[in-house]
Amino acid sequence: MKPAPFDYYAPTSLAEAAGLLARLDNAKLIAGGQSLGPMMNFRYVIADHLVDLGGIPEIAGIALAGETLRIGATTPQRELEFSDVVAQRCPLLKAALKHVGHRQTRNRGTFGGSVAHFDPASEQPMMCAAHDAVIEIASVRGTRRVPFAEFGVDFMTTALEPDEILAAIELPLWPQGHGWGFHEFARRHGDFAIVAAAALLALGPDGRIARASLTLAGVAVVPLRLREAEAALIGHAPEMAPIEAAADLAGAIAPLADIHASADYRRHLARILTGRALADAAARAAGRSVP
């Protein structure tokens, strides 16, 4: 399990990296290497050139710009996990990150790397979907900004062209006092989710649900926003009856089956975990304690 031979590049600017990517055939980008590394060791991925994004300061780090959290692509998961601004302004992300791999992999694994890798059971693309993220993409042709809904194309396939680099992720923040909930079922701590459910709720001045975001990971080829269930919540008080109705809609999806779980089991978990995530989000939004 040794990787096939490759040449290695360590650019120090985004422009340099984009130039390398435009010039080299069969090149792969590496950031933390926690997903790419195993695939290279198994020789599932054989690249002639490896371009390391780790030495480019302009695409690393967390910044709060107004009501948007900008996450540089090569920001390690660990940095987000321990970030005060994430804890205060984007608590759903912090909760989700605790389920990403292990301490050792979060030290090196990057947010942008995971989003670009686009595993359907991963929590990080899921967070992008939940927050209606905007993905900033760079190449020698310039920079473009892609809404996340258009970024995910298919199973482990994104809108990134071969010469493009995912540079940053912008998460529009929810208002202070919003409710959130995250529930995941994995076989072991840190494993990829069989199913994960994320909920965000904001109440209007009338105490009723004014805005909702419901997202599932592990059930489809891309993170799945439950638009119908979201719509069904609007205007209701944050209580059990509308939550159960929304969870039932989550339980009506047609999920994937693989060696880890059948479609029936995933459908069942989608309903249960959506209900649990929504219950937590509703409690938080209403200022109640979460069990």
């Binding site: 040449d7 360590a10 050792q104």
Partner: protein, 162 residues
Amino acid sequence: MIAKRNISVEVNGALRQAEVEPRLTLADFLRHTLDLTGTHVGCEHGVCGACTVLVDGRSARSCLTFAVQVDGRAVTTIEGLGPGAGGLGVLQEAFQRHHALQCGFCTPGMLTTLTELLNDNPDPTEDEVREVITGNLCRCTGYAGIVAAALDAARRLREGEA
């Protein structure tokens, strides 16, 4: 042929320079180029944790890191954890006292991971210890001795036994 690269890495406090193929993993660099065989390779796909070392003080899978990526960085392996000359540090002593190792193959990764944890958090709970070593598989011990050793070492370190 792909050209080899010159790298210089601070390993256990000593500067080491070598010419390496870009595809050489950090694990193989440590074990076979530098003959630091205390770091073990158990799965080469980033799950078992036996190859865990500290890079700039942070635990990392050396099977998922290429040697060229640690050029200019500081790496600590199991050989660099104790007081030297084969002596045992507080955590290592606790491992022996609590029978936290049997075959010893996962031990380098357990020690490096727990060294980082105790640096970050001198007073971890049992749950925190268990959670952080989910990144390290052990087939022999059933983890009980490892958890006990980590908590015991944390207490001794807090009480100033160094």
